[in-house]
């Protein structure tokens, strides 16, 4: 336990000798990633050239990651309010009212680049970071989701990345004891040089006790808790390009390693302290560590802050102020305490064997003052640095969607069974059981099993502990749609999340997002960003499904090869009566199947085109249109019939269309079905028209008349039963064969050595 013990530096240096306090030049600014103009603004704000330490602060605070300078303008389009929204974007996580005096706090974040460099640790620390965002708010984390995108399975790096990332997510989540309940996993060559690892965390807090990062009360102590600070993750380019290269080897930044055990202790200690009345404000140290956490707390409160950096608990000897301020060591938090509460807090952190140090105080100077062994080493104004953080309206060009497909040019369907088997067994269509069985998806004893099935449905269902309610959680995005038509793709990601929640009976409340794109400095990429966010905003507006938190990850490209535009949507809904929840598994034979929604047979951009006909990109035509009013009407209808107890199982239609959805329902329970479809064509069987659901019901006539009354297209599709999937009383394919294909691909791919 360290409190305010001073570390002796190996070579004791007085502040004026430190390279950190040498004045910077424009070249230093550029080397640290600022533009010439941004550097000039920094000089103006300081009234002198900032020293190298101060420059480091400008450079991280004005980085794309912290300042959202390319995306801000477009994020403002998102609707962020609804009667149930407690906190929208701007805090560590968003918060919505989920009834019973409780709030759900949730957010998604990317760890793409670190996961490419070191898949296990990159993914693990991604989970750790997003959990901190949630428990910082006073919420106990109750669920994790993970949205993964990898390159071509045949690319030499892919297998190793899949194995490492999945192990990393499990390694962290399993150890902290928060269930990983759902996610996505797709493969596409566009991610060869840049996989995506997005993690979402959900926590539950008392609605009237949500903690924020807004500092208050000059004179209040600033307290550091958690793990010690090392040289982890200090921006490599920054380090290499400054004059800081004595002891170069020793000071080389290192990969961040996660310590889930310490995180678990930090969760328990923070929640224990939060139950007292000691905390004024709290903020985790995420990207840009101590710099952005202290800066944000002070700037939100309109205050100044003074930190004695020599009091920061350090893991390594010889660390300098610059390194301490920029370190991204994990499992650390910064808090402002009420005066006199230090002892209460310290006792709790000592009990959990965590470091605790009072490292500074809030001031009313409006300045961030950093000292090192008593000498001032940085002194920068907070407000101007925050207010004048750059914002760009980057040039963009609109993506022109491909011309409609000429259906006549497509080869005929042939045997539907072959196509179905292929779709269910393709890398993207195959079961992701191999992944989620490596995650403890049940710990905490609230992961619901419906119709005998846990994970693998449209949304994960997590009981709200001690209540009769449940959260429904999903993450969705169809990047190939976004690439072909960003606006439609953006809408579709939101609409699919809405459908996945509705299909369980849950009322969709709000979303978080993770916007993964290539370089915003390329107008065509910026055009994808603009289009996707416009589409998302429209959909959120129309569906009453506001954005309450999110994350932007740009520059996802390697050698000029950008990823597919991938705006991942994390949706949260609530079921007021968990006993009414349904999932995709047929619970019995003899039920009738009803198809809800309209089928035109849209084949453009479908999984069928990609996986069966091998057509992708501009060759694959435009994606299906999302009709938001219809989405809302159909979703509302589906929830209402589930609420009335008319539904035994429900699944939305997405990748692979009707036949894939029916097969997934049958495979989930092992009970087959027999379908009647007038036109056996690729368009009818595998088209991806939006806004559709399959419902299994023992009350078909009630469902149909309710649909008629609600003006929702609905028609009988077939019946459940048997151990095969049969079309028009004719040919059938056994579930055993379908299962072999669906469950076979991922394990055989991921567990093989070559």
């Amino acid at each position: 336990m360290t409190t305010t013990r001073r570390r002796t530096t190996r070579k004791k240096k007085s502040a004026p000798d430190l390279p950190d306090v040498q004045p910077s030049t424009e070249a230093d600014g550029i080397a640290q990633g600022l533009s010439a103009e941004e550097y000039a603004r920094a000089v103006e704000i300081c009234g002198r050239p900032p020293n190298l330490l101060e420059l480091g602060i400008f450079s991280v605070m004005w980085s794309e990651h912290c300042s959202y300078k390319s995306s801000k303008k477009w994020l403002r389009q998102f609707p962020t309010e609804a009667p149930w929204v407690i906190l929208g974007p701007g805090e560590n996580a968003g918060a919505v009212d989920i009834g019973d005096g409780l709030a759900a706090c949730f957010k998604m974040e990317s760890h793409n680049h670190p996961s490419f460099i070191e898949p296990y640790q990159g993914a693990a620390t991604g989970v750790g970071g997003i959990l901190r965002d949630v428990f910082t708010m006073g919420a106990r984390p109750v669920a994790i989701l993970n949205a993964l995108r990898f390159g071509d399975p045949d690319h030499p790096k892919t297998r190793h990345l899949v194995a490492g990332v999945v192990r990393g997510i499990g390694g962290y989540g399993n150890c902290v004891g928060v269930p990983t309940v759902g996610g996505e996993c797709e493969f596409d060559p566009a991610y060869n040089g840049n996989p995506l690892v997005n993690a979402m965390a959900v926590g539950i807090a008392p609605a009237d006790r949500i903690f924020t990062a807004k500092a208050e009360g000059a004179g209040n102590p600033v307290v550091y808790v958690g793990a010690k600070t090392g040289r982890d993750g200090i921006h490599g380019a920054t380090m290499a390009s400054t004059t800081f290269d004595d002891e170069a080897e020793q000071q080389r930044p290192t990969v961040q390693v996660g310590d889930p055990f310490t995180e678990k202790l930090l969760i328990e200690a923070c929640l224990e302290l939060m139950a007292t009345d000691a905390i004024v404000a709290i903020q985790d140290m995420g990207a840009a560590g101590l710099t952005s956490s202290s800066f944000e707390m002070a700037s939100k409160g309109g205050l100044g802050v003074e930190l004695a950096l020599d009091r920061v608990p350090m893991r390594e000897t010889g660390m300098r102020p610059y390194e301490i301020m920029l370190s991204e060591s994990q499992e650390r938090m910064l808090m402002i305490l009420k005066p006199g509460q230090e002892a209460v807090a310290e006792a709790i952190f000592t009990k959990w064997e965590l470091d605790f140090a009072v490292i500074g105080t809030l001031t009313d100077s409006g300045q961030m003052v950093l000292t090192w062994n008593g000498e001032t080493v940085a002194d920068v104004p907070i407000r101007p640095l925050a207010d004048e953080s750059p914002e760009y309206d980057r040039p963009w060009v609109e993506t022109v969607p491909p011309a409609p497909l000429d259906r006549a040019s497509l080869s005929p369907l042939g045997d539907w069974k072959t196509a179905l088997t292929k779709l269910l067994g393709s890398p993207n269509g195959s079961s992701k059981r191999w992944i989620w069985q490596q995650y403890d998806h049940m710990v905490m004893g609230d992961s619901m099993v419906v119709n005998g099935v846990g994970p693998g449905g449209d949304s994960a269902l997590v009981r709200i502990h001690g209540t009769a309610r449940a959260l429904a959680l999903t993450s969705d995005c169809t990047p190939r749609y976004c690439q072909a038509d960003p606006r439609q793709g953006g809408m579709q990601a939101v609409a699919e999340a809405y459908r996945n929640l509705s299909a369980t009976g849950a009322k969709p409340l709000a979303i978080t997002d993770n916007l993964n794109f290539g370089s915003p400095q390329r107008p065509e990429i910026m055009g994808q960003f603009v289009g996707c966010t416009q589409g998302m905003a429209e959909a959120c507006e129309a569906l009453d499904f506001p954005v309450v938190s999110g994350n932007v990850s740009l520059y996802n490209e390697t050698n000029g090869q950008a990823i597919l535009p991938t705006p991942v949507v994390g949706g949260l809904g609530v079921l007021d009566d968990l006993s009414k929840a349904v999932n995709i598994a047929f619970p019995a034979g003899g039920l009738e199947l009803v198809l809800i929604g309209e089928t035109d047979g849209h084949l453009g951009c479908t999984a069928y085109l990609r996986d069966v006909l091998g057509r992708t990109g501009p060759d694959a035509g435009p994606p299906p249109q999302v009709r938001l009013a219809i989405e809302k009407r159909n979703g509302t209808f589906v929830r209402s019939i589930i609420g009335k107890g008319l539904v035994a199982a429900c699944h939305d239609l997405s990748d692979g269309g009707l036949l894939v959805a029916a097969a997934e329902m049958a495979l989930a329970s092992g009970i087959g079905c027999s379908l009647n479809i007038t036109e056996v064509s690729a368009a009818m069987l595998f088209g991806e028209d939006q806004g559709r659901y399959i419902v299994a019901t023992a009350h078909a006539s009630a469902v149909l008349s309710a649909a008629y009354a609600a003006n929702v297209p609905a028609g009988k599709l077939g019946v459940t039963g048997g151990d095969a999937l049969t079309l028009n009383r004719g040919r059938s394919i056994s579930l055993q064969d379908l299962r072999a294909s669906h469950e076979g691909w991922l394990p055989s791919y991921a567990d093989s050595e070559t």
Binding site: R252, T254, V257
Partner: protein
Amino acid sequence: MIRAEVRVMLKNGVLDPQGQATRKALAHLGFSDVEAVRQGKLIVLDLNTDDRAAAEAEARAMASKLLANPVIEDFSVELLDA
């Protein structure tokens, strides 16, 4: 047959949560003069060869290709007789 030992340790500066937890546990057990603990892997390979130079080269190749993760780990190789 030659026995090669590959020792894999986390690089200097890389956080070693296992080592830290072990150090604390040793302190609780009363082993108070343990300054630091680092935990690594030891991989013992029995190689079907009698050529020591070849064995060493092969063990190094295996270490850099598979046994160690160059992003966070260093390794060293030592030959014993099996």
